[in-house]
Symmetry: C2
Subunit: 322 residues, 2 copies
C-alpha cells in the first residue's frame, strides 16, 4: 500500500482550500469529502446556504453550493483526488497514520482535519425546511442579518448564552425588535453580556421571552411567525416575526478524533498554538470551524485551510517526506 | 467633527474584507485606501500580480487587479466610504483615535490596520518590469511556483536566509534545477534549513552560486537569464533561467505606527494573542501581512481581515459605542 503525503478530511472551505494549496505544492492530496456524517454533505454547511454575500470576491453574492463547487473544481484542477465517503476510524498513534472509510484504508504521512462544526437546531420540520430554502431561518446572524428581508422587522433569537445575546445584539442594528426566547427565566450569558442585553431591553431594541421553547415555525415560502410553549404554564403563544435565529450552540464534528486528539471541553480540536494549525499530534493539522469557536466564517475557514496546507508542506519537507 | 465607528487603513485583501464585514455590521466603515505609500497603490500587492490561481473561488484563476476590484465593489456595495490618500500621522495615545492624511483629519473609536508588507526587490529596471508583467520574476514561490512556465526549467532564487531555502526547496518540486544566488559564501539560514539545502544539492535539485549578486535581468516578454557579479573577483557571469524568485525579505508597512504600536524586531505589528486581531492598544486591530511573517497569502489576509472586523464590532458593542 502506498503512503499518501497528505490526506484531508472534510470538504468545506477549509478542507478545499487546504487541497488547493497542497495540490499546487505537488503533494497530490487525497480528500475524504464525506458522505453524510454529522448531517453534513460534501461541501459542508454552505451547501445549505442560499445567498453568500460576505465571501470576498463575489460582489453580487453567490449561492452557497455554487461557491463550493467552484472551490472543488479548483482543488480538482490542480490534482486533488476525492473519496466520497465518511472516515470511520483513524489511528494517529503511529506514523504513517491510517484512516479507514467503508471502502478504503489509507496511510498518510500528514493529515489535515477540516470536518467543521454544525449549528444546533431544534429539529422542527418547518424550521429545517425554511433554513435550507433561505426562508428567514438561520443559525448565523453575522452571515445573514444584513439581508434586506430582515430590515425593520420583528426577529426572534432562540438561546440564552453569550452567543445568543451577541447574535441578538448584532441583529438590533437592522431589526425593529429582537425577541430573545429562552427556556429559563434568566440568561446563562456572562455578566457583561447580560448587562449588554438589559441595556438593549431598556433602549427598546430587545425583549426577553422567558421560560419558553420553540415548538413550531409558521410560514410557507418564508417565516411568518413562531409558536412558543411556556414551560411553566404549558401555555402556547404565537409570535409574529420575519426572521428566526437559532443560537443554541454548535457541535464540532470531532466524534471520530476524541480518542486520538486533544479536544477542548466543548469538543473542538485544541491547537497548542493558535498562530498556526498544528495539533497535539505531530503531523496532524486542523483548520476551519472544527477549531474555531469564534468567527465561523467561510473566509476565516479558508484562511486557516491555506495555513494548514502550508504548515503540512513545510513539516513534510523538514521530515524529508516529500 | 463626527467620530467614525471604525476606520480601516489599507486596501488589500485584509482591509477590504474587514470593510465588507464592518459594513455589513452597519458600522459604516471609512477606509484610507492609500495613494502610493510604501510603493503600493490601492488594492495592495495583488495589483502587481497577473494570474492568481490559488485564491479559492476562482477555479480558472483571476487577474490580481480584477480580483481586488471585486473586493472593493463588494465593500462599496455595503456602504464602505473610501479616501484615496495615504495616512500621514496617527495618534493612538487617547480615544477617540485620530488619523491624518493630506486633506482629512478623522476621529475614530476603532481602527483596523491592514497596511500590508512589501516584498524587497533588488530594484533593477528589468526585474521590476518583468515582475509586474508576469514575465517570470516573482517574490513568492508559493503563489507562482506551480505555473506551467516554470515546469522543468532552470530557476534562480536570490537570498541566503530561511525563506530563500524554503522558496528554493518548494520550487524543486517543479524545476529542473534551482540555483541559489547568495552574496556571501555561506547561508544565513538556520541549521535545519542549511541541512535541507545541502541535501537538495546532493540530490542534484539545487546548486549554490556563492559570493554573487544580481546585477541585471535579461529578457523581453519573459526572462531568459540573469547577470551575476562575483563580489570577490568582480567577474560577471550570465546564467540562463526561465524564472527568478527574489527571497531577500519583506518590509512591513508600519513606519506610520512605530511610535504608537508594539512592533516586533522586524517591524511587524506584534499581536499579544495570535488567536485574534487585538494589538497592544485597545481599540486598534491589525490584520493581513502587516502581522504575518509566515503565510502571506491573499486568503489568509482576507481571513484575518474578517476577524478584525468582527473583533472591532464586538469590542465596540461591549463599549456601548455603536
Amino acid at each position: 500500500m502506498s503512503i499518501e503525503k497528505v490526506v484531508i478530511v472534510g470538504s468545506g472551505p477549509a478542507g478545499l482550500t487546504a487541497a488547493i494549496y497542497a495540490a499546487r505544492a505537488a503533494l497530490q492530496p487525497l480528500m475524504f469529502e464525506g458522505f453524510n456524517a454529522g448531517g453534513l454533505i460534501p461541501g459542508g454547511q454552505l451547501m445549505f446556504t442560499t445567498d453568500v454575500e460576505n465571501y470576498p470576491g463575489f460582489p453580487e453574492g453567490v449561492m452557497g453550493p455554487t461557491m463550493m463547487q467552484a472551490f472543488r473544481d479548483q482543488a480538482e484542477r490542480f490534482g486533488t483526488r476525492f473519496i466520497r465517503e465518511d472516515v470511520r476510524k483513524v489511528d494517529f498513534s503511529k506514523r504513517p497514520f491510517t484512516l479507514e472509510s467503508d471502502e478504503h484504508n489509507v496511510q498518510a504521512h500528514a493529515v489535515v482535519i477540516a470536518t467543521g462544526a454544525r449549528a444546533n437546531w431544534m429539529g422542527l420540520e418547518n424550521e429545517l425546511r425554511l433554513a435550507k430554502s433561505g426562508g428567514g431561518v438561520s443559525a448565523c446572524a453575522v452571515c445573514d442579518g444584513a439581508l434586506p428581508i430582515y430590515r425593520d422587522q420583528d426577529l426572534v433569537v432562540v438561546g440564552g448564552g453569550d452567543s445568543a445575546v451577541e447574535e441578538g445584539s448584532y441583529l438590533t442594528k437592522f431589526a425593529k425588535m429582537v425577541y430573545l426566547v429562552h427556556r429559563r427565566d434568566q440568561l446563562r450569558a456572562s455578566k457583561t453580556m447580560q448587562q449588554r442585553f438589559f441595556k438593549l431591553v431598556e433602549e427598546g431594541k430587545m425583549k426577553p421571552v422567558w421560560d419558553s421553547i420553540l415548538v413550531d415555525v409558521h410560514g410557507d415560502q418564508s417565516i411568518t411567525g413562531v409558536r412558543l410553549r411556556n414551560v411553566k404554564s404549558d401555555e402556547l403563544r404565537d409570535l409574529n416575526c420575519k426572521g428566526l435565529f437559532l443560537a443554541i450552540g454548535h457541535t464540532p464534528n470531532t466524534e471520530l478524533f476524541k480518542e486520538s486528539l486533544e479536544l477542548d471541553d466543548k469538543g473542538y480540536v485544541k491547537p497548542p498554538n493558535p498562530g498556526n494549525t498544528y495539533t497535539n499530534v505531530e503531523g496532524v493539522f486542523a483548520a476551519g470551524d472544527v477549531v474555531d469557536h469564534t468567527y465561523r466564517q467561510a473566509v476565516t475557514a479558508a484562511g486557516t485551510g491555506c495555513m494548514a496546507a502550508l504548515d503540512a508542506e513545510r513539516w513534510l519537507a523538514a521530515q524529508g517526506l516529500e
